[in-house]
């Protein structure tokens, strides 16, 4: 079976920024994503030990390359300054491109 090249965007951020990230995805008409809670360390210090609000979350989005630039630009512009956040992009192959707009 042929695997089609798409992008896997991963955003690791504080849990209270999750809504913002998903809103940005929705604005770009991307409705598919996967999320899960994580802990971590970074520029804003150790996160995830105390209250639920202090945890991190990963948001993973499989998407076509064409939307990627707009999405990461908006995330970077609106969230990078005020939130604990990290973003990276990888290449993956999928079977059904029609699922990932």
């Amino acid at each position: 079976m042929k695997l089609y090249n798409v992008k896997l965007l991963t955003v690791t951020c504080e849990i209270l920024a999750q809504k913002n990230v998903i809103d940005i995805l929705a604005k770009h008409h991307i409705s598919g994503y996967t999320t899960y809670e994580v802990e971590g360390n970074g520029a804003r210090g150790l996160r995830g030990q105390g209250l639920k609000n202090e945890k991190n979350v990963k948001v993973e989005v499989i998407m076509q390359e064409d939307k990627l630039q707009d999405v990461i630009e908006e995330i970077a512009r609106t969230l990078f300054t005020n939130f604990a956040i990290v973003l990276y992009v990888g290449d993956v192959g999928v079977l059904r491109t029609e699922k990932f707009v």
Partner: protein, 360 residues
């Protein structure tokens, strides 16, 4: 009993001791931790218990008596929030965002603090008015709404000034900016009113009111008798988290440390006096004072991170949970109890009215 004696006897209650124990456990870097699911569940449980209790009491006493205290609490909360802002911005030299965030954190109420207060009174054999649970629920969003509204106004104004001076953009764009701000405000309002704390608290008050003493019987073991034990367990975790934050206190600065102790004391004692003046009981006045003295450390971040993302959570969480909360439950609660005892026993209400007139 003198004030030191009262503080000491308060120190020797399981709630306070287990809280201090949690702090110590964190300081010696123990891996002790109450699992997340339990520490997320306990505040919901505590609020349900508080709400049910309050609702049942309100069924017995009626609504009318609630009106004046409620309005007084809202008025004071707004006043205090504005006052905090001035102090933080002018004296503390904090930026606009941190000032509003801190102002509302201390203008808002702490549900956990309220639980501890109820247990403290129980321990002293004193009751308080049930409708204070409703005051707690109403007060929760008030300070946030004010602070968020004012922050948004300030930001819009800044944007407008800046853009006009640049002469780069049209009126319509400024209009858009303001619309966005409004949408944002509306969204934050919705979030803060449908936040789990308010929802479970209001819901439980109403349910308590509907079922009354009788209906409560079958669940009183869970929602009444387990109450203090549940607080103890929760305070272990709060102690651990507070202990982990102690390192951050240095970053918070001397000014904010002082603020985190003096402000609640001031607000709390004013609260006790006002409450006494408007006729609340000894215990009721303590709880009323505690509402005003307490700072929010669970609801605050959830609301403020969305509403004022520019503000640093390390400031408002650390000061509210790391300094004010311990201070409130260990030191200020006995002080307010003492003050309330004095003003209730010695007919000092006239004196108090006098003082208050001088203040306002």
């Amino acid at each position: 009993m003198d004030i030191l004696g009262l503080i000491q006897s308060n120190l020797l209650t399981p709630i306070v001791l287990f809280f201090i124990f949690g702090i110590i456990a964190a300081r010696i870097k123990s891996d002790l931790k109450i699992p997340d699911a339990i520490s997320e569940f306990l505040p919901i449980y505590l609020l349900a218990a508080i709400g049910l209790h309050g609702g049942i009491e309100m069924r017995n006493t009626g609504f009318e008596k609630m009106l004046v205290p409620m309005l007084a609490a809202i008025g004071l909360s707004l006043l205090f929030t504005l006052n905090h802002y001035q102090i933080l911005r002018r004296l503390g030299k904090f930026n606009l965002f941190d000032s509003y965030a801190l102002a509302s954190t201390y203008g808002a109420v702490g549900a956990v603090t309220f639980s501890v207060g109820l247990s403290f009174l129980k321990n002293q054999g004193v009751t308080s008015e049930g409708f204070l649970a409703a005051v707690l629920a109403i007060l929760e969003p008030v300070a946030f709404i004010l602070a968020i509204f004012l922050t948004n106004m300030a930001v819009s104004k800044q944007m407008k000034t800046k853009k006009e001076s640049l002469g780069e953009i049209s009126e319509s764009e400024i209009g858009m900016g303001i619309t966005e701000t409004k949408t944002n405000l509306k969204q934050v309002l919705h979030e803060s009113i449908t936040g789990k704390a308010i929802v479970i608290l209001l819901g439980s008050i109403i349910i308590g009111y509907m079922i009354g003493e009788e209906g409560f019987e079958s669940i009183s073991i869970v929602f009444d008798e387990l109450f203090t034990g549940a607080i103890v367990i929760f305070l272990i975790e709060m102690g651990i988290i507070a202990g982990q934050r102690l390192d951050d206190i240095k970053k918070v600065g001397v000014f904010l440390i002082a603020f985190s102790i003096i402000m609640p004391t001031f607000n709390g004692i004013i609260g006790v006096l006002v409450a006494t003046a408007i006729g609340l009981s000894l215990g009721g006045a303590v709880m009323f004072g505690l509402l005003l003295a307490s700072a929010s450390f669970i609801a605050a971040p959830a609301v403020l991170r969305h509403a004022i993302p520019q503000a640093k959570p390390s400031l408002y969480i650390t000061s509210a949970l790391g300094i004010t909360f311990p201070y409130n439950i260990i030191v200020l609660l006995p002080i307010m109890f003492m003050v309330s005892s004095i003003v209730h026993n010695e007919g000092s209400i006239d004196l108090l009215n006098y003082i208050l007139k001088g203040l306002i």
